[in-house]
Subunit: 200 residues, 2 copies
């Protein structure tokens, strides 16, 4: 089953968006039988949604069994994450001289920026990830996360396509850019096969 998450945008923060996705994961886990869902749960997102998915894949808990709120008793873990053209981090790269990190999307302060950098929170329990992007975005973004996964021996796939632009989604013309790029569109088939191999 495919579910679309409508998460909070401005004036809310990325921390609120993470809370929204975590709540949605718990909700799906709590309704598994009622809604006849499969065993496994994968998050998928693009750009800011990709960052959100990477954040939820690297910040998860097993739920609070004592909670009065039944849904909060369920885990916010996911079994896989698909990250399309996420700008992973502002902590792993040098900033241009004299330019502060001022975009609140990347975190309000030092602790939040670090929390929001998925490559800094990969552990041996992090779920497998499928990362893809085009070279119009700096490939070092995906590579810094892929390297963290490799360091922890977490399985992953990484596909960096040379042509294309940020925002291609399925790259089949049905995106904000109106671009149909069959080469980049291979990511969809590759991802479907990857998920299938993982038992989805």
């Amino acid at each position: 089953m495919l579910c679309i998450l409508a998460y909070r945008l401005l004036p809310y923060t990325r921390m609120d968006a993470i809370a929204d996705m975590q709540r949605a994961i718990r909700l799906l886990r709590s309704r598994r039988k009622e809604w006849a869902l499969g065993d496994k749960l994968c998050v998928m997102g693009f750009s800011a949604g990709g960052m959100l998915s990477a954040n939820c894949a690297t910040h998860a808990d097993e739920g609070r069994p004592e909670s009065q709120d039944e849904i909060e008793r369920f885990a916010s873990r996911v079994d896989a994450a698909v990250i399309g053209y996420g700008a992973m981090s502002v902590v792993s790269f040098a900033k241009p001289f004299g330019m502060p990190v001022s975009d609140p999307l990347m975190g309000e302060n030092r602790r939040e920026r670090y929390y929001l950098a998925p490559e800094k929170h990969v552990t041996c329990d992090t779920p497998p990830m499928f990362l893809w992007q085009t070279l119009s975005d700096d490939g070092r973004h995906s590579m810094c996360l892929a390297k963290a996964l490799q360091d922890a021996e977490v399985p992953y796939e990484l596909h960096i396509f040379q042509p294309g632009l940020h925002g291609l989604a399925m790259a089949d013309g049905r995106n904000d850019l109106g671009m149909d790029l069959p080469h980049v569109a291979h990511w969809g088939e590759l991802c479907a096969e990857w998920l299938c191999d993982l038992g989805f």
Copy 2:
């Protein structure tokens, strides 16, 4: 036109193999009209051959116009390189304590090891590269070369497939492993499209 290079193996060295590929590149350039070759020349290799291709893509010259040997007057530059599961380097990664780098394939001494590490010789004149491997080989090998390409803003594609083993070639069953893995075999189509986009 597709040409197969039979390069020198042991007891010859990797430096000899590079000389063989460079000579072959010059030969093809010198016979371009006679053999009705296209404008562009791409090297492609797998494993040790991938390393060889990466070495030739990062060590090239414009030829020696004054040479008595007509072929040596031609450039050893290539216009693209396709690198399948190359173990790029022994210089970019920490060695296990107490273990010297003793494999002569990786170079006889410090200078040769450095020369044979393609990620250390990428410049703004390095040709575009298509890198692919499976996760059974450490993804950091391709990533360290891809990062060097990104640093120099040289176009590239990078595909790291989760399943599979070293040595899959086209992954269509016609390899030493006898393995037919349609997921990994996508690399061939992706590579053909990438070469086509580059004008091959």
